[in-house]
């Protein structure tokens, strides 16, 4: 009871702080500074009609690379701990509903995830969300079968390859125009078409493959009963 009340009090205090701060926030009607620059020049600079992806992958590509490294460290740590001290969540026999869902839904969800990644420069999407959608397909298939999936060595290989290609795509910019993660040296194409946005689609695919294989590896590690990953 004390723990419940403590939690409630913390939530109420946080709510009071938010209620006090939010009216003081000034909502700007017009964009200023770097935000204005991104919105007004973004499409010409990057050839991406999705400005969110343009900022994440092109303008702030270095930050995204750092984010990918952080995710890599986190997933490596989780998999390492679960390998040394295996939990070995038992693969119980799936119920009929789960088994049927795991047969029917993976293909459409997988297609959606791939679409989400491949069209990240045209419509709302991106490597991170698309990768998690693909990882959820892996999870669904895993829940639908009573056996432990065997992807020994392949998931880490995809993960490493995707991370490496992100870095190499960055270095490609250094080799050609002398700028790391330069987006536009291949030409940006017509915004709104599938082959546009310079390097953005390629980097999105790399991020998507990396995130998908990382999360899948973490899920697989939960089922790990000992032995090699």
């Amino acid at each position: 009871m004390i723990r419940t009340l403590t939690g409630l009090i913390i939530v109420l205090v946080l709510g009071a702080v938010a209620a006090a701060v939010i009216p003081e926030m000034q909502m700007r009607e017009e964009l200023q500074g770097v935000g204005y620059s991104y919105v007004s020049r973004g499409m010409d600079d990057t050839g991406s009609s999705n400005l969110v992806t343009a900022v994440i992958v092109a303008y702030r590509g270095l930050d995204t690379l750092g984010e990918v490294v952080v995710l890599f460290c986190a997933s490596t740590a989780v998999v390492l701990i679960l390998t040394l001290y295996p939990i070995g969540i038992k693969a119980s026999e799936p119920s009929r509903v789960v088994a049927f869902t795991a047969k029917v839904l993976p293909a459409p969800i997988l297609l959606f995830g791939v679409y989400f990644i491949a069209h990240s420069h045209i419509s709302p999407g991106g490597g991170f969300p698309g990768g998690t959608v693909i990882a959820s397909v892996f999870l669904l298939v895993m829940l639908g079968s009573s056996s432990v999936p065997d992807g020994r060595g392949r998931l880490p290989a995809i993960e490493s390859l995707a991370g490496l290609s992100f870095g190499l795509l960055g270095f490609w910019g250094i080799m050609t125009v002398g700028q790391f993660l330069n987006n536009a040296f291949l030409g940006t194409g017509t915004p709104g078409t599938i082959v546009s946005g310079g390097l953005i689609p390629l980097i999105s695919i790399a991020i998507g493959a990396k995130v998908a294989s990382e999360f899948s590896g973490v899920f697989k590690a939960f089922r790990n009963t000992g032995g090699t990953v």
Binding site: T4, G7, L8, V11, V52, I87, I89, K90, F116, P124, G125, G126, F128, P129, T132, V133, A135, S136, L139, F215, F219, F222
Partner: protein
Amino acid sequence: MTETLMTVIVVTFGGMMITAAIAVLFVRDLLSAIIITGFVSLSASVMFLLMDAPDVAITEASIGAVLATMIFLWGRGKIGGDG
């Protein structure tokens, strides 16, 4: 979508989210608490969609509502059911 309808939907979902978030503290069963946490995430993703952020909505739905819930469930399995 009209302004009034939008307000009604946002207030409804916001109210459900707050109610569910408080309910998590008071339910006895750990399984119920996990499912309600997943519901809060799913409502948050609907809110993101209403605020014209479909990519954030997808991220919240897949990470918050599916992957995090699953990891909580496995954690519950590890510590042995009711707690």
